[in-house]
Amino acid sequence: MNLTENNENKAICSSEIDASCRLPLLALFGGAALWLVLGLALGIVAMLSFHQPDMFADCSCLTYGHAQTAANDLLLYGFVMPAALGVILWIFARLSQVTLVLPIVPVVAANLWHLGVFVGTVTILFGGSTGHPWLEYPRAAAVLLFAAFMLISVSAAATLGFRTHRELYPSHWFLLAGLLWFVWSYGTANLFLVGNHPPRGVVQAVIGWWLTNNLLFVWLALAGIGIAFYFLPKIVGKPLASSGYALFGFLTLIFFGTWVGIPPSAPVPAWLPTVSAFGALLSIIPVIALGIVAMKTVCCAKVPCVGGSFCFIKFGVLSFVVSSLLYIGEFCPRASRVLDFTWFNVGVTQWQLLGFAGMILCGAIYEILPRVMGKELPFAKLAKLNFFLFAGGTLLFVIPLLIGGVEQGMKLRDANIPFADASAVALKFLRISTTGQLLVLLGALCLLLNILVMTIQWKLGLVKTVVSVVKDSLIEGSAYQPLPGDKEAKS
C-alpha cells in the first residue's frame, strides 16, 4: 500500500465504514437471531420429554435425541458462529479504518451459512445425524458451513490487509487466530469423521473430543475475548489495561487450551487423558490472566450499566472465567469420577454458549446495529429487558443443572442407591432449569424483534427511495401524467 492510498483511507469516516458493513451484518445477525430463538425453543421442546416422557412417542422428529442435538447445534452453528463472524467483520473494518473489502462476499457467505444450518437441522430432525458430538451435520451442510466460513475469512483478511495502522491491536490476535482455528479443526474433523473412510474404533471419539474442545473452549474464548477486548476499552474510554498481559493470555490460551478435551475416564491409551488433564491444569493460567486484563480495564470506570452493552459484555467476561474454570474442572481425574456423564457437563456447555459467548455477542450486536443502520434501536427498552432475561435466565438454566449434576454424580457413584433415584434427583432440578430456558428464550425474542424491525424499516426505506427516484425521473420526463393514486403513495 502506498502513501496516497493511505491518506485516502484516512479520510474515510466511521459512518462510511459502518455503512459498508450493513448488508453482510444484517444477513449474519438476522439469521443468527432467528436460529437462536429456534434453537432455544427446540431445547425447551426437547426438555419436555423429561417432564412427560411419552409426549413425542409418535413423533420421531421431536424425540429427545433429535431435538436436543439439533438445538445444541443451532446454538453453536446457528447463533454463536454467524453472530461472531459478523462482529469480527465490523471490528476488522473499524480497526483497519477502511470500508469492508469485498462486501458482497460475506453476504453470499451468510446465506450459504444459513442454508447449511437449515439443511443440517432438518437432517438431524429426520434422523440423518452423523452421530459424532458437535459434528452431527451431514456432509452437505458441513461443506456449506466450511465454504461460508472461508469466504467470510477472505473478506475479513482482506480488510485486515488494507489497514492504515500496521500494528495489530490485541483483538486482532484473538480474532485472527479464531479464523484459522475453526477452519483447521472443523475441516480436520469432517475429513476424518464424516468423510468416506472414517478411522477405526476409538480414534473417532478422540478426534471428536479434540474438535469439541477446540470449538467450545478455544474458539469461543478467542472470539468472545477478542470481541470483549475491543468493546470494553471503547465503552469505558480508556485503553486496554495491559497489552503484555493480554499477549501472555493469548499465547497460553492457544498453546495450552488446545490440548484439553480427552476425558480422564476415556477408554484410550492413558497418555491421552493425562496430557489433557495437564493441559487443563495449565489452561487455568490464560483464563485467570484474561480475566484480570478485563477486570483491570473496567475497574473504577464511571460508566453506568443499566442493561446496556456494557452489562452484557461484563457479564460475558465473568461467565468466561467461571464457566472455563468449571470446564477445566471436568478434566481433573478426581472430579471427573463424580461429574462424568452427569447434567453438570450439560450445564457447563450451556453456560459457555449462552452465558459467555451469547452474552458478549448480544452486547456487541446492540452496540453495532445502531451504528451500522445509522439510527437508534427501535425497542431500546427491549434490549435492556433482554439483558435481565438473558442474565437471570442463563443462571436459572445452568446452576440447577450444575447442582443437580453433582448430586446425580454422587448417587451414581454409590452402587447401593438405585439408578432410578439418581435420575429422579436430576429431574427435580431439570424443572427449575426449564424455567430458566424459557426466560432466555424471551430474551432472544427481544433480540430478534429488534433486528427484524430494523431490517424491515431499512427495506421499506430502500423501497421508498427507489420509488421516489423512479418517480422523479418519470416526472422529469415530459409526457408524464400523474395518476390519481400516486399522490397518496408519495406522501
Partner: protein, 294 residues
C-alpha cells in the same frame, strides 16, 4: 505480535502441535488396531456384528440414543475374591471357629482378619459365600489351601470393582478394543438412562427389548425413557395375528382388534442392543470368568 503473519504463525504452531498430538498420534497408535484374543481362550474380540445388529447401530445413531445413554463402563480397581462353594461335612459354626483360629495363628492372614470376620458374622451356612474380597492375593491362596486341606471347596477369582460393575452395567471396564467395529463410536455423554455397554447380557431377550422400546413403563416402573412408538405400527389384526406382534399388558395394548408390530428399524435396534456385551476378559481388562475351584 506486530504483524498478521506472526499471529498466524503462533496459532498455526499451537494448533499444529495439538493436531499432531491428539489427532495424528492416536491415528498412528490406534488407527490400525486389530481384533484381540480373549484371555485364556482362542476366541476373538470384539465379535463382528451381523445382519440386523449391524443395521441397528445406525438406528441407534439416527435416533440419538447416545444423548441419554452411555456405552462405557468405568472400573475403579480390582479385587481378589475367595468364595466358599462347598463346606463338605463341616457345620457353619465349626467352620467359623476354624477360620477364626486360622486368622489368629497364620501371620500372613492377620491383615485380612477384620474383613473375614465381618464377612462371616451372621452366616448360617448358605452357599456360595464370599469370605474375602480385597487387594491381597496371598490371603486368597493361603486361605484356599488351608480350607482345601480340611475338605472345604473354595473358588478364587479376580473381579473388577466400581459402582458401574456393582450395578451390573459390566463385568470389567470398557477398553479401546470393544469399539473396534463401531462406526460411529458412540460413547455418549450423559447417563439420563443406564449404561448400555452390557445390556445384551442383562436383557438378552429380543421381545423384552421390543416391548421396552414400545412402552418402557410396562417393564421398568418409573422409567424416564420416552416411548418409541414411532418405531412400531399399530394395525388391524388380519385373519391371523401377526407372529411378531407384541404381547403387551392391558393398559399399554392398543384398542381391541389391533396389534402392535415392530418395524424393521425397531427389530434392528433391538438386535443391536442385544449384541452389546462387555463380558470377555482381555489382556488390558482382566478378570476371572470361570471357576477356579481348589
Amino acid at each position: 505480535m506486530k504483524t498478521g503473519f506472526s499471529v498466524f504463525l503462533a496459532a498455526f504452531v499451537a494448533l499444529g502441535l495439538s493436531w499432531c498430538g491428539l489427532v495424528y498420534g492416536p491415528l498412528k497408535q490406534l488407527g490400525g488396531a486389530q481384533e484381540t484374543t480373549v484371555l485364556q481362550s482362542t476366541d476373538k474380540w470384539p465379535v463382528q456384528r451381523t445382519g440386523d445388529a449391524t443395521l441397528g447401530l445406525q438406528v441407534y445413531r439416527a435416533n440419538g440414543c447416545a444423548a441419554c445413554h452411555t456405552e462405557l463402563v468405568h472400573q475403579t480397581g480390582a479385587a481378589n475374591v475367595l468364595t466358599l462353594t462347598d463346606i463338605g461335612v463341616h457345620k457353619a459354626a465349626d467352620l467359623k471357629d476354624f477360620t477364626t483360629s486360622l486368622l489368629g495363628t497364620v501371620s500372613e492372614l492377620t491383615t485380612a482378619s477384620n474383613t473375614v470376620v465381618a464377612n462371616l458374622a451372621g452366616w448360617n451356612g448358605e452357599l456360595p459365600k464370599v469370605i474375602y474380597s480385597g487387594a491381597d492375593d496371598t490371603v486368597v491362596s493361603m486361605l484356599g489351601d488351608k480350607f482345601k486341606a480340611v475338605g472345604v471347596k473354595t473358588e478364587a477369582r479376580v473381579i473388577a470393582t466400581g459402582a458401574d460393575i456393582a450395578r451390573g452395567w459390566g463385568t470389567r471396564q470398557s477398553v479401546a478394543a470393544d469399539y473396534l467395529y463401531d462406526s460411529p463410536v458412540q460413547f455418549g455423554s450423559l447417563r439420563a438412562g443406564p449404561d448400555l455397554a452390557n445390556i445384551g447380557v442383562r436383557a438378552p431377550d429380543l421381545n423384552w427389548q421390543l416391548q421396552h422400546l414400545y412402552a418402557p413403563r410396562s417393564l421398568v416402573k418409573n422409567s424416564t425413557m420416552p416411548a418409541f412408538r414411532y418405531l412400531f405400527t399399530v394395525k388391524k389384526i388380519g385373519a391371523q395375528p401377526a407372529p411378531d406382534a407384541l404381547v403387551l399388558p392391558k393398559e399399554f395394548s392398543p384398542a381391541t382388534g389391533f396389534e402392535v408390530v415392530p418395524t424393521d428399524e425397531a427389530r434392528q435396534l433391538a438386535a443391536y442392543l442385544v449384541s452389546l456385551k462387555n463380558n470377555a476378559p482381555l489382556y488390558e481388562a482382566p478378570f476371572t470368568p470361570i471357576t477356579a475351584a481348589k
